[in-house]
Symmetry: C2
Subunit: 761 residues, 2 copies
């Protein structure tokens, strides 16, 4: 077993490992596949009622009257509540980025289709939906705005009083873009658009609420139990200690479960009114309307380059819409333009506008995939324009510092260059490019794109409590959620590594505000780099305590002792040893408790994950159908903690990126009703197994970074979906000579573009 | 709010309090009375099967054959197991005191009626009991021994090979007893007997066992979840971390729930075999046979006293029986004889013998009530013999040191004398004694007795984790069980006291090996004095961390700052302040975590609780019926933490003591079958509300002891039942002139003695 660092010493992050980095199945694999795992949607306390929410069918309407009399008399109905119910007149804040919108749980103005109007709790789900239908609501239907591209036109009805511009235009600039364009040999300009995508995790959004005395327990499908606790305690005016939120398992969260929903408050209200536990899980259709989305963006990018490949200027504008209550519709869409490539002159502006549609929520790498869609297609076009290989073109424009950050701090690793180089090599980029194009009906092409994630370093706070039993087994207490990424497994491996035991001997308690430690939500690709160093610190603390106690027992110094599972042995005299269950000390009685905290990151240094994706496609020139033949994803996310869950993340990210590129788009009926016309899994297309390549390669680029944190891990969850879509688009260009600037690249769109291309030719 | 001690400083235990000591209802009172509290016997995971155990109907038998074929085919039956089932051939250790008995879960020799032979799990309890009846067992019935008084006679069949003496005779001696008797003016000798009492807590013994993958969860009605974890992990050969034991609520435990039972292992086995959760709760009749008892004792006490009241010698012998697998049948029965009164010459011997009856378990103050039954009646008789008041006689014989302990360390408080003095005063002892006796058919009498509990100091280890939220509310994590005594409420009060908040803002998580801290079982009257100081230490730690962080934020020193709920304020400049949720520091993000440990007690010092009970009775000389008219219990148990739960404990202890004195006795059919003939709540009498006086007074004697621990609390649960029975017997003597040396003093016994008295007279 590797040595423990001395007391107070920081453990070396990149030492040789025994467990960490191996390919290990999840520690909860059996529970997950056998059905034993209890997801929030499985929770069913006795006497539980089924709650549901009546939602406004109009994109914009004023609620004049809610008549619940008939619904109340329906069989099985325990409660019907609306804004006029005493105690239900609660505030609700739609949290934007930098801005918030104070409304009511049941507001009299509904600004999007699917806004909550009333709610029911009944004995069974059928009685609940019957009662919902029996509520009679009188609406004053108002004119709506549903297209962000025309939202600022004077003819567009205002979503809120004061026009449809959200706050002020966000601007950024460095150098002199105009001068940059003047210096350029080639200047290109293009408009790009990404469609609005909907959050559709496998487990829908919802919770079960139960009161016991003055304590509320919520089993919520969430990425962060403490975030839910805070919001709900604030809204209900309760002490934080009296709101317990449990989220032991959850069926996927990509940003839309960072916070509770109105459903959480409504379930708590219905449970209080009825005296019974109440379950509300949204229907799939409700999640399409109200659970969050990735904002649509409309981008213009102008770029200048010299013949030798030197970038001279970027000029970028973006208009996005976060819906009726925007959470940053255009937020950080420009980050890659600012920061991915060395460019002295950059100017960006971003505008967010209101439309009468469901509020946006953070969506796997907010802004980054959209920005990459523009930037990485532009880079491909620039390379073509100056006759340079796209990989080579990128490699000569890689900065060593973060240009967008104050003081231009250096990056911890040269990860982007390595991703490009090694990725191209393993993918066989040069050979594949030689075989692309052709003249037949099926044309092959390869494309690539790069990216970075502007976070993913991990940071305080994190507190971990680790109990080491005398038999060497461990109980690990962590507040963070495992949102399906394998967090628990990685933490077990880190503890097992440090303590020299099997990961299977580590039992994890997590994601429960009542019984586990404070943690920030699992999001921002920071869970592993935040929690794992705290786990390690807790394990180190336990060992140190044991050595100190054992030193007193053995009448020697702690430095003379070595911990091995179950036994502490003297280094100088191996016959001097004591079994862990024989060690006596004030705080020891078969169990030693260690507390570990996440240390801060080193100052003036940027710890970001980098990525490069490579893909090969076959395009049917007659039908516009695209088959993605293979994909390679090279990622510098620091140390690989578990190769199996690492690869799972990569493959999932590619799949989601293919959804952005190829299939996903919220469709609103802008003409007549303003309603969503594809709000279900039949009409809204997410990629299926048939849409993704069987040949997917995950290529970890591990560059030791001794200062990142004591485990060497960086975030992975979001980088894996950032360069995917433009890599596909660039491959289609490589196959067809066509630039598809707008998502999704469905056969209809591509067929149309191919027809126009043929016409031009 | 009182000041926080400086960093590293020990908080003063006896400062003025704001919350502690008040009369406060339990923090879980609503859950308990509304039925919302989930006791282990309420737990019902989906697909749960009902398990039950087939028990040997003979006190001594060899199992020849177990035929389960018919039972297996019965409807609803999922599993039938016995000693021949693969995986069920597990060891079971009957834990004695100083000795253990290695047997099997299903042993081939049954040494008591009720021993486990086989077990069934079926869909519903009726199918389970039908299947139990369908198991065909062939026994070789063996001769039995059922009376500890004759167990050593050569004619008594041996329970184990090697005779019925358990180990060696336990002896103690100081001074020279023979010399002491020679110096005495009066020497008395008497035989005393206490009957065997059965553990009958309101919630029966049992558990629900569930496997998820390789982890076993047990909801057990227990006094100590970690004790259950250890035993079960050992028997099943599992890592400790993989056995989770939960005991959030439990319906009473008086020593018999300090450890799991065979039922726990059997439930786990059945759950593993069937793949379903399995519930086993013993029937009331089963608990009478197999769940534990207070051993019967047969005592002889000889005492010498001078005319001036000086004790000169005690000579004591005791024979007890812990049943077939004794857990100290005569253990510490002699403690009070050794230690309660100043006496230079003491000699004691104690023998434990085997009989074919259920194993004894620790029973509220092991040995002490039995010893008090002898000693305190003898003290009463000695006082009468030398014509001295019983209170005055005791007062002149109180030692300041523990004579039975090595080095004669001093007691922390002069508590016994104060209990006697103040108790007599408030009871109106002198006046009441003047009115006792008489000549009519109903005679009144008063009696009293004293006692101490040889433990009750509390001690390490205890670990408490306290999370302070930004709004000042608190989550408190403790592994100890609240066995109905109000532990949770007291801990909430201690945290509230230190943090200046309401106890209602403290949420407690407890008694769960998965999610709460290590704790020793709740027993030995040590829970409050063990856990409360650790709670206080955790609260102090949280405050100190806040002050340190706030000092950096406010650019001042921690010593200049004062914590008040929600705000930290400068002492020198009260305008300098910072809200807790604004304090920033590495480990702070809305939650501060404090870890508190129990410090060791001061060396060479005895911290024991003391007690004196006073009672008044009316005896019907014609029928032998006794009415206990009133009771006063004076207790030095250190600081009163909550006056309501304190008094509850006192009243409960008196009730149990009345059970020993008046009603309880296990009856074995020694002649024919060796079986228990009153193993149910109809025939075995525990005191009901009609058997205890309405007039019960709890008189706390609070003597500040600054060194006991940082809360000043000492144990209360056991002292309250130690002097009760002899106080009643002494009152009966005072009324009738009759000494009743044997329990229970039921009307039949008393009537017989009164008849004999009349005959003599």
């Amino acid at each position: 077993m590797p040595e423990t660092p001395g007391i107070g010493e920081r453990p070396a992050p990149w030492r040789k490992t025994r467990v960490v980095g191996k390919t290990l199945p999840r520690i909860d694999a059996y529970e997950r596949v056998s059905g034993a795992a209890l997801y929030p949607s499985d929770v069913a306390p006795s006497n539980m009622l089924h709650g549901a929410i009546l939602r406004c069918p109009h994109p914009h309407a004023r609620v004049i009257r809610v008549d619940t009399a008939r619904a109340r008399r329906m069989p099985g109905v325990h409660a019907v509540i609306d804004g006029s119910t005493p105690g239900a007149d609660l505030d609700w804040t739609y949290a934007g980025t930098g801005t918030t919108f104070q409304t009511k749980i049941f507001d009299t103005v509904c600004r999007f289709e699917g806004e909550a109007v009333a709610a029911v709790a009944a004995k069974n789900p059928y009685q609940t939906s019957d009662a919902l239908r029996a509520i009679d609501v009188t609406y004053d239907v108002l004119p709506f705005t549903s297209d962000e591209r025309t939202a600022l036109a004077p003819s567009s009805p205002p979503v809120h009083s004061g026009g449809n511009q959200v706050g002020k235009t966000d601007t950024y600039s460095r150098g002199d873009a105009d001068l940059g364009f003047a210096e350029a040999d080639v200047v290109l300009e293009e408009h790009y658009r990404t469609a609005c995508e909907i959050h559709t995790p496998l487990e829908r959004h919802g919770c079960v609420a139960e009161w016991k005395g003055d304590r509320l327990t919520l089993w919520e499908s969430t990425q962060g139990v403490y975030a839910v606790q805070k919001t709900i305690a604030d809204i209900l005016g309760m002490p934080l200690s009296k709101v317990r939120v449990i989220g032991h398992y959850m069926g996927g969260g990509f940003g839309s479960k960072l916070q509770p929903g109105k459903y959480t408050v409504i379930a708590a209200l219905l449970a209080r009114v009825t005296g019974c536990p109440v379950r509300i899980f949204l229907s799939r259709e409700e999640t399409f309307l109200a659970a969050g989305n990735r904002p649509p963006t409309n981008m213009r990018l102008k770029a200048g380059v010299k013949k030798d490949g030197t970038l001279t200027a970027f000029d970028f504008t973006c208009t996005g819409s976060g819906g009726a209550y925007p959470a940053g519709g255009a937020l950080v869409v420009d980050w890659l333009i600012r920061d991915l490539y060395a460019c002295p002159n950059v100017r960006t502006t971003a505008d967010d506008v209101y439309i009468n549609a469901g509020p946006a929520r953070a969506f796997r790498a907010p802004g980054h995939p959209q920005g990459a869609w523009a930037l990485e297609q532009m880079m491909d076009a620039l390379a073509a324009a100056i006759g340079m290989d796209p990989v080579a073109f990128r490699l000569i424009n890689i900065p060593n510092v973060s240009q967008a950050r104050k003081g231009h701090p250096p990056y911890g690793t040269p990860g982007f260059a390595e991703c490009l180089r090694r990725g191209a090599e393993v993918f066989g980029w040069n050979e594949a490019r030689k075989q692309s194009g052709g003249t037949g009906p099926i044309r092959r092409g390869v494309g690539m794109a790069g990216g970075l994630w502007s976070s993913g370093d991990g940071r305080p706070p994190s507190t971990i409590i680790l109990k080491l039993y005398a038999d060497g087994s461990v109980n690990l207490n962590m507040g963070a959620s495992d949102i399906g990424t394998g967090t628990k497994t990685v933490m077990a491996m880190v503890a097992a590594e440090e303590l020299g035991i099997r990961p299977q001997a580590v039992q994890i308690e997590h994601a429960d505000t009542g019984t586990t430690q404070f943690a920030t939500p699992s999001g921002g690709s920071k869970t592993v780099p935040t929690e794992a160093p705290a786990v390690r610190a807790a394990a180190v603390s336990v060992k140190q305590q044991l050595l100190e106690m054992a030193a007193r027992n053995l009448k020697t110094e702690p430095a003379d002792l070595r911990y091995t599972p179950g036994v502490v042995v003297s280094r100088s005299d191996p016959s001097k040893r004591i079994a862990v269950d024989r060690i006596s000390g004030l705080r020891m009685a078969g169990v030693v408790v260690g507390v570990g905290y996440r240390d801060p990151n080193p100052p003036n240094r940027v710890i970001n994950p980098f990525a490069a994706h490579f893909c090969e496609v076959a395009v049917d020139m007659r039908t516009g159908e695209v088959r993605i033949l293979r994909f390679l994803a090279a990622h510098d996310s620091g140390r690989v903690m578990n190769r199996l869950t690492y690869d799972n993340q990569v493959f999932g990210g590619i799949t989601m990126g293919i959804g952005l590129a190829m299939t996903e788009s919220r469709l609103l009926d802008g003409n007549q009703t303003g309603k969503m016309v594809n709000g279900n899994w039949h009409d809204y297309k997410i990629p299926t197994a048939l849409d993704i390549p069987a040949d997917m390669v995950s290529l970890p680029i591990e560059i030791p970074d001794d200062e990142a944190n004591t485990t060497g891990a960086k975030g992975l969850g979001e980088p894996v979906t950032i360069p995917t879509a433009p890599a596909v688009a660039n491959a289609i260009y490589n196959a067809t000579g066509l630039r598809v600037a707008e998502t999704p690249i469905d056969p209809l769109r591509l067929c149309g573009l191919l027809a126009a291309q043929r016409k031009e030719a």
